[in-house]
């Protein structure tokens, strides 16, 4: 399968994003932080795999806001049951984008188990997500972004990205900062 550069993909998303809440995890969070200057970025997920659950809480609490999670395949494997929880609730304002690179990139780029065969999109469909997309080229991604920002369906995207292209140092102290979380809350209240 083809794949795209994650940084390029996230830059395109940032270009079109307005006041949506974005919940990036791990490497996507580090990259996203280098691109976005918004105070509506929620990076305070703490433990691996928990991003999708934080995003569900945000989606439930603010049904008027679009919530976009930039998950990872290694992360989602740690909290695979959250797909069933989310599918059961069916929040129409949640877009679940999983950056698939077949590795635990933060932990030394070791491959995830059974990475050649696993289909997250099929699992998400079975779990109850309403719209499923598989994207592996940058032009399709660019064309899809406006749809993601406006859809009223619980959406799952398998976004295939190059493995091991991380050039940035993780800064978990900043990503999980309580002070910045409080800033996020103050910003969210105003929007």
């Amino acid at each position: 399968m083809k794949s795209i550069d994650r940084t390029e993909a996230l830059k395109l998303l940032n270009k079109q994003r307005t006041d949506e809440v974005v919940v990036p995890v791990y490497q996507a969070a580090t990259t996203w932080r280098s691109i976005s200057t918004s105070h509506l970025d929620y990076t305070f997920t703490g433990a691996m795999g928990q991003g999708s659950s934080h995003a569900l809480g945000l989606a439930l609490g603010r049904p008027d806001k679009k919530i976009i999670i930039l998950d990872g395949d290694g992360s989602l494997l740690m909290n695979l049951g959250s797909l069933v929880t989310i599918g059961n609730i069916n929040p129409s304002n949640l877009v679940h984008c999983v950056c698939i690179n077949g590795t635990y990139e933060t932990n030394g780029s070791i491959q995830i188990p059974n990475h050649q065969n696993i289909s997250f999109s099929k699992i998400a469909k079975a779990a109850g997500y309403k719209e499923i997309l598989v994207i592996d080229d940058i032009h399709s991604w660019e064309k899809t972004i406006p749809e993601l920002l406006t859809t009223n369906k619980l959406t799952f995207i398998e976004l295939h990205v190059h493995p091991g292209n991380n050039q940035l140092q993780d800064n978990f102290k900043e990503l999980y900062s309580t002070e910045q979380r409080n800033q996020f809350i103050r910003t969210l209240i105003k929007t």
Partner: protein, 167 residues
């Protein structure tokens, strides 16, 4: 000693402004807390597949100014220690956990239980500096709304250990 009642636990949650209960079924509280919550209470129940999901959903809800509690069994608390460490303690989220002690002997403090899984609960919470309370008998429910209020005021977790099956 008369038992806790599910009705007064639910009333305490409603009084404290709880809008969501995030739960994996717990045998101690299923019949008289979780089922009435799902059937008659205005509080919304979100069934999660694993207990740590509840802690994280609660954090997301808190960021939107919504109050919730996590209703689980002590086995699920043990499974969620890393999430409690990171999401509740390090990032400082007001996580309120109602934790049923599976097959706990009445009148015995958890640390004195003959069951290993229950004995270790409060030492683990002590080592993590996570505050906890123990409720077992009728009237103890009155502590719940104050605990929730303090939790949200201080942005800290609190574990409420439920030692007996509410009637």
């Amino acid at each position: 000693m008369s038992n806790l009642t599910g009705r007064t636990i639910i009333e305490a949650l409603e009084y404290a402004g709880i809008e969501y209960v995030l739960s994996v079924p717990d045998i101690t509280t299923s019949e008289n807390v979780l089922k009435p919550l799902m059937e008659v209470s205005p509080i919304k129940v979100i069934q999660v597949c694993k207990e740590d999901e509840g802690i994280s959903i609660a954090a997301g809800l808190y960021a939107t100014n919504k109050k919730s509690v996590v209703l689980i069994q002590h086995t699920g608390l043990l499974d969620s220690i890393n999430c409690l460490r990171a999401v509740s303690m390090e990032i400082q989220n007001p996580t309120v956990l109602l934790v049923g002690l599976l097959r706990h002997e009445p009148g015995i403090q958890p640390k004195d239980s003959s069951r290993y899984g229950i004995q270790i609960i409060t030492p683990i919470l002590d080592s993590m500096n996570v505050p906890y309370s123990y409720i077992e008998k009728n009237g103890d429910e009155q502590k719940i709304s104050k605990i929730i209020e303090n939790c949200y005021k201080k942005c800290k977790p609190h574990v409420i250990l439920i030692g007996g099956e509410p009637t």
